[in-house]
C-alpha cells in the first residue's frame, strides 16, 4: 500500500547534531515534504500558536506530525505537550516524544498528557531510522484515513 507523504513535520529539538541526524532519517525514508525545526520550548509554542515571527500561516503551516524532544530549554517537552493537548486547534496533531534515556517515568508522564507515541533515541542510527520510518508511516496512514 502506498502511503501518502506527510506535508509538514515539526521537529522540536535543541541538539544541533540530533536535528541534522533526524532530518537525514526523515528525508532518507521519504516520509515528508517539509521539516520545520524549532529549538526551544517557547519557540515551539510560538510556531504552533502562530505568534511573533510565525504569524503568517503560509510561512508556518500546521504540521501533520510533531516530533518533540523531552529535554528542551525554556519550556520542556511535557509543558509543550500539555499546551498542545489543551488547545482545540492543535490537539488532533499527533505528537511523538523523543527521549534520550527511555526513562519510564517520562514515558508514563507523556502518555498521561496525551502523547501519541515515543521514540527512545538509540545509539545505532539504523535502528533510529527504522523507528522513524515505522512510526512516521503509521501516523501518515492514520492521517490519510482521517482526512
Amino acid at each position: 500500500m502506498k502511503i501518502k507523504q506527510l506535508d509538514v513535520i515539526l521537529l522540536v529539538e535543541d541538539n544541533p547534531d540530533h536535528i541534522e541526524l533526524t532530518q537525514d532519517a526523515l528525508l532518507e525514508v521519504d516520509l515528508v515534504k517539509t521539516i520545520r525545526v524549532v529549538s526551544d520550548g517557547e519557540e515551539a509554542l510560538d510556531y504552533l500558536f502562530r505568534r511573533k515571527k510565525y504569524e503568517n500561516p503560509q510561512e508556518s503551516p500546521r504540521p501533520d506530525l510533531i516530533l518533540l524532544d523531552v529535554k528542551l530549554p525554556k519550556k520542556n517537552g511535557f509543558e509543550i505537550l500539555e499546551e498542545i493537548k489543551q488547545s482545540e486547534e492543535l490537539k488532533r496533531i499527533p505528537v511523538i516524544l523523543l527521549t534520550t534515556t527511555g526513562n519510564k517515568e517520562d514515558i508514563e508522564r507523556g502518555a498521561l498528557l496525551g502523547t501519541n507515541d515515543y521514540i527512545v533515541k538509540p545509539v545505532e542510527f539504523e535502528v533510529f531510522m527504522q523507528k522513524v520510518k515505522g512510526l512516521g508511516k503509521y501516523w501518515a496512514w492514520i492521517s490519510d484515513l482521517t482526512s
Binding site: D17, T100, T101, K104, K121, V123, E124, F125, F128
Partner: protein
C-alpha cells in the same frame, strides 16, 4: 521485700551516684508508670518532671500512656525493647535532640514484673549523620542519572555521524585501515553506551519505585528459559528449575533481572566447566541460583556485591555491575542476598525479597 525490689524501689546512695555519673538519661518506673528514680542526666533534661509523677507527664499532650510506649512493651513481653524510630517530640514541641530509648523490665525473685528501667541515649549526631548520608546518596543518584543522560546524547551523535560517513560513502569504506578504525569506533561507542545504560538502570532502581504484583512463577521460569536456553545450549549447560511456590508478590521485571544477572554470571564464569548444571529455585520465600563451577574466590566474596567489582577481567561489555544491581533490587524490596560459603564446589547464592525471611 527481696533484694532486687529493695534496690529498685529505694536505690542505695552508691547506686544513685553511679547512675548519676552515666551519660544516658536513666529512669526507673513501676508497673503503674510512676517515676521512682531519675539520674542526673534525666533530671537536667526534664526539669518539669519529678519523682512520683507519671513518666508520660513528659509528654503533656497525651495525659495518658504514650501510644508508642516502649516500657509497656518491655513489661508486657518481659524482654528488652527499643523504640523503632528515634523520639524527637516532647510536650508537643520538637526536641533539640533525637533519642534512642531502651527499656529493660525489672523482675522480682519470683519472676513477676515490678517495673522497668528506661535508658535514653542522645543519638542526635548519629541521626544527623544518617540524614546527611541520605541526602548525599540522593544527590549522588541524581548526578549519576543526569550524567548518564548527558553522556548518552553525544553517543547518539557520534554513532549517527559515523553511520552517515559509511552510508553516504564519505570515507573510503574499501580501505582495510578505514574499516578497522570505523569498527573500533563502533565497538567503543557500543561499550560506552552499555555502560551508560547500566548506570542509568542502577540509578533508576535506587530512585524509582517498585511495581509490586502477584506473579506466576511458571511464567517467570518460561521467560528465563526463553532468554537463556540458547546460550546455555551453546555451552552444553543445563538449566534446572525447582520452584515450590506457584505465585509470589514482587516486582516482576526486577525479579527476572535478578535471576537473569545471576544465571548470566554462572554462564560467564563457568565457561570451562564440563557438565555445567545451573539450579534455579525457591522455597518458603527463599530464592537461589547455584552452579557446579569454580566458585567465587573467598577473598572476593565480600566485594562481590560492590559496584564495578569483578573477580576476573571481563570482556568489553562486562563492567562488574551485575551483582550490584542484584543487591540493589533485593535491598529495594527489603530483602537480603548472601553467598552460601559451605557450598563447594560451585557457587550458591540465596536471596529473599522480604525483610522477615532469612
Amino acid at each position: 521485700m527481696d533484694p532486687v525490689s529493695e534496690h529498685f524501689f529505694n536505690p542505695p546512695p552508691l547506686l544513685s551516684f553511679i547512675l548519676d555519673s552515666m551519660a544516658p538519661g536513666i529512669m526507673f518506673i513501676d508497673t503503674e508508670y510512676n517515676i521512682l528514680f531519675m539520674n542526673k542526666e534525666k533530671r537536667d533534661n526534664n526539669p518539669h518532671i519529678k519523682t512520683g509523677m507519671k513518666c508520660y507527664d513528659v509528654f503533656e499532650e497525651y495525659g495518658m500512656r504514650c501510644p508508642f510506649c516502649v516500657a509497656a512493651r518491655a513489661m508486657e513481653n518481659k524482654s528488652l525493647e527499643q523504640n523503632k524510630e528515634y523520639i524527637s517530640i516532647q510536650k508537643g514541641v520538637e526536641l533539640p535532640v533525637h533519642l534512642s530509648i531502651t527499656v529493660m523490665p525489672v523482675l522480682d525473685e519470683k519472676g513477676k514484673v515490678i517495673g522497668a528501667v528506661e535508658i535514653a541515649y542522645d543519638v542526635e549526631n548519629l541521626y544527623q549523620t544518617n540524614k546527611r548520608l541520605e541526602r548525599l546518596n540522593k544527590e549522588y543518584e541524581h548526578v549519576i542519572y543526569a550524567l548518564s543522560h548527558d553522556l548518552r546524547a553525544p553517543l547518539v551523535s557520534i554513532e549517527g555521524f559515523l553511520s552517515k560517513l559509511e552510508r553516504k560513502k564519505l570515507v573510503d569504506i574499501e580501505n582495510p585501515e578505514t574499516i578497522h578504525c570505523l569498527d573500533r569506533i563502533h565497538v567503543n561507542v557500543r561499550m560506552m553506551n552499555n555502560l551508560v545504560k547500566v548506570l542509568l538502570d542502577t540509578s533508576r532502581i535506587a530512585t524509582g519505585s517498585l511495581e509490586i504484583q502477584e506473579n506466576s512463577m511458571e511464567e517467570i521460569i518460561q521467560m528465563l528459559i526463553n532468554n537463556f536456553n540458547s546460550k546455555a545450549e551453546s555451552q552444553n549447560a543445563v538449566l534446572n528449575f525447582d520452584f515450590k511456590q506457584t505465585h509470589y508478590r514482587c516486582d516482576r521485571i526486577r525479579l527476572i533481572q535478578v535471576f537473569s544477572n545471576l544465571i548470566n554470571n554462572c554462564l560467564e564464569h563457568c565457561k570451562l566447566t564440563e557438565n555445567l548444571v545451573i539450579h534455579v529455585g525457591m522455597d518458603d520465600g527463599v530464592f537461589w541460583v547455584k552452579d557446579n563451577g569454580p566458585g567465587i574466590p573467598e577473598d572476593f566474596q565480600e566485594k562481590a556485591f560492590e559496584a564495578f567489582s569483578q573477580a576476573s577481567r571481563g570482556g568489553a561489555d562486562h563492567f562488574g555491575m551485575g551483582m550490584n544491581i542484584v543487591y540493589k533490587i533485593i535491598q529495594k524490596h527489603g530483602g537480603h542476598v548472601w553467598i552460601e560459603n559451605n557450598h563447594f564446589p560451585g557457587t550458591l547464592i540465596k536471596f529473599t525479597l522480604r525483610p522477615s525471611v532469612k
